[in-house]
Structure formats: structure tokens, C-alpha cells
Symmetry: C2
């Protein structure tokens, strides 16, 4: 790939900051990569933690990207019905070499019509929504289907980004980043997946997120209807 | 522990942002935790990536913390000789329940005189410097010695933070966070440690960082002499 490699991560209010700070650290460690943090305007955006995020470029001023990446978080529920965001993604997707996401960012790609007929990953609690946008839900840490590369929940962003670096540059480049970031994980517990976590913890977690799932389901239904309407208008 | 649990992560120019954004995501997911991002002044600080970091509180206005955490990065080489930072850490350490770090943040704790006689972890490239401050270099992902909890390089911050949550609250609380963050890592390659990475990659990496190691060595020598002088003055 030609240099600089233009990599863009979109931001939005209530993004899960680790969804993109993991990939950001990986991508920024690649020689010859230029990384952009993109939002509608150049003004700070609140994340889901006390960290406020400052974009480096606006939608309007963003150059054509080689990689467009959408992180997830509770704020993605608003983004799936945000035409300004969806238009930006569709516009960039025309020339981008890789169209990517972490966590529920794949729902935003889906709402933009960019995952129709593609396998995709997402956070384990959101898997069922992917088919609303014609994507094939795929339970894997990193899902590669042609030039769509989607990661699972939150921390999967690190595995996703290393995988993408190996595809864009080569395995050696990805390994050099992994060594620098000492990415040799050793989780102290084994609760990182609903398949390995204690059953009562999974049940408690599902109960806790029930209200936000209701809101997400409603937003997905609206976004899916909007995408359908768009297809009919285009036909 | 009483609520809110006051957790503070210090920031500084050229911090490796993933050193603290990992722990930040974990700590912010703990019910009843109040997380502060701390710097000399409330003004944005440049990280080692395009992400600019905005503190939430200044050294002067920071409440007594239950947990003080120092991340690492190339900027830590300046912090080990920064009296304002070292004084802040010493002041907080008096009342803090846990004194902690990620990556080369342990060198800053060491320079503040807070690791004398303690085992500690750090980034694999910095292990040899810990003994300059009377700490016992310990090659482990997360090192717990009494109330000093120190993580290895960069991504070890996630393992560190989950371990600390299990100590401060309980294992169930840590597992709930792990499930939410889908922390079920699957590195695509096996180069996350100098013990597993290809030997030629480790050699290349060491050669690349040689100039910055020279600078780090000089800064460590100055910081160690300064700490020694302080001990003599206090005696």
C-alpha cells in the first residue's frame, strides 16, 4: 500500500473509548501510517468514561481514507439513525480499501448498508441485530470477509487491529507492534466470554442491560426500515 | 472499601495512551468508582498518538485518592526528574490504599521513592532500571507486593486493572467487567513477549530503541542520584 496509509477512526458521543484507543495505539505504531480521529465537527466529544475525546478532523475535511473504522458503545445506538454519520461512511466506503469496525460499530456499518451479504462480528450482546442489515452474524474475535474486517466486543479491537496491520503491511509489521505493546495477555479470570463466564454472572448481566436492549431493538428497527426504504428509492 | 472509590490516573506529555485507557475503561465500569485524570493543570496534554488527553482535575485540586496509578511511555523519562510530579505522588501515597503503575510508570513511582524494597513489574525493555530505585525487578504480567500493584508493558494494564478490581471489590466485580469488555483475548500472532517473538524481531527492536535507551539511562542516573540526595538530607 502507498504511504502514508490513511487510517480513520470515527468518534461519537458515548463511544466506548477502549474500542478505539486499542486500535489507535496499534495503528499509530505502524511506520508510515497517518491516523485521523473524525467527527462531524472539531469539538470535544464525551466518551463513556471521564475521558473527553478531541477529533483531529471533521467529516467535511477528512481526506479519502484507506481504512475507515467505526468503534462501538452505547452511543452507536444513535449513530445507526444519524444520516450525517451514515452518509460520511458511505462516501468514504467508495474509495476505502478496508471497511472496518470494533464491537457494535458493525451495527453502524450495517445501518449504512455496508455489510449486506458480508459476515461480521460484534459485541456478544448485539449478535442478533446484524441480520437486520443483511449481515451474517459471526461469532469470532476478528471476522475477515473480503475487505470487511470486524472485531468482537471492546478489547477485541486490539486483536482486530493487529490482524488488519498484517493484511495491510505484513505479519512482521504486526508482530513488531505486538512486541512493543507487550501484548501477551494473561487475564486473571476466565469471564471474558458468555461461554466461559459463570452462568449466574451472564444471567445477571443480561438482566442489567435489559432496558438498554429494549432501546437498541427499537433503534435497530428504525434503522433497518430506513435502509430498506433507501433500497426501494434507489431501485 | 467506602464509596465512592477515588481512583486517579496521572497524565503527562507523551504518555502511551493505551497504558491508561485500558485501566480507565476497567475502573470506569466498576459501580461506585469515581475516576480522575490528573495533571499539573487542566489543559490538554499530547499523548504518543494523535489523541490529545484532557485532565479532569489538577494536582492542586485532586482529592485524596484510594488508588493512585501512573501509566508509562516515553514521557515517563521526563517525569522521573519532575519534582512537581514526584511531590504529588509522594503526597498522595501517604493516604492512598493502593500505589500502582502500568508499564514504565513504575520507574516514576521508583523515582518518587515509593518502590524501595518492593517487587515491581515494568515494560520488558525497562526491567534493568528498577533496581536503581531500590525496587526488585519482577518479570510478571501483574506484580502484587503488599499495596504496590504494578503492571508490565502497555496492554498489561488491562490485566493489572482487573486484578486490582478483584482486590478492591471482589472477584465477581472483576469478572463482570471482563464480561462487559469481552476480554477474551486471541492475539493473532505470538510476538507479545521477547521470549516468544522471533529472535531477529527482538534484535531489530532493540537496535531501533537504542538511542532512546541511552537517553533513558541518563535520566535514570540523574533521578537515582536525586533520590539518594533526598535520603541523605532526610537522615
Amino acid at each position: 500500500m502507498s504511504e502514508p496509509l490513511q487510517i480513520g477512526l470515527v468518534l461519537f458521543p458515548k463511544v466506548t473509548q477502549l474500542d478505539f484507543t486499542g486500535p489507535l495505539q496499534v495503528f499509530s505504531s505502524v511506520p508510515g501510517a497517518k491516523v485521523h480521529l473524525i467527527w462531524k465537527r472539531i469539538e470535544p466529544v464525551a466518551s463513556d468514561t471521564p475521558l473527553v475525546l478531541t477529533p483531529t478532523v471533521s467529516f467535511a475535511d477528512c481526506p479519502q481514507l484507506d481504512v475507515i473504522c467505526v468503534p462501538g458503545g452505547i452511543g452507536s445506538d444513535d449513530m445507526i439513525n444519524d444520516e450525517e454519520m451514515l452518509d460520511f461512511l458511505r462516501r468514504q466506503a467508495v474509495g476505502a480499501k478496508y471497511i472496518t469496525s470494533v464491537c457494535t460499530g458493525s451495527l453502524v456499518l450495517g445501518a449504512a448498508g455496508l455489510l449486506q451479504g458480508y459476515r461480521a462480528a460484534t459485541h456478544w450482546t448485539a449478535m442478533e441485530y446484524l441480520s437486520s442489515f443483511g449481515a451474517v452474524p459471526t461469532k469470532t474475535r476478528v471476522c475477515v470477509d473480503r475487505n470487511r474486517v470486524t472485531g468482537g466486543g471492546v478489547t477485541a479491537g486490539i486483536d482486530f487491529a493487529l490482524t488488519l496491520v498484517s493484511m495491510m503491511v505484513d505479519q512482521k509489521a504486526a508482530e513488531a507492534v505486538q512486541l512493543r505493546l507487550e501484548y501477551n495477555p494473561a487475564p486473571p479470570f476466565n469471564a471474558g466470554s458468555p461461554d466461559t463466564a459463570p452462568a449466574e454472572l451472564v444471567a445477571m448481566f443480561k438482566e442489567k442491560i435489559a432496558p438498554s436492549r429494549q432501546r437498541r431493538g427499537d433503534a435497530i428497527a428504525r434503522a433497518a426500515a430506513r435502509l430498506e426504504q433507501r433500497k426501494i428509492s434507489a431501485a
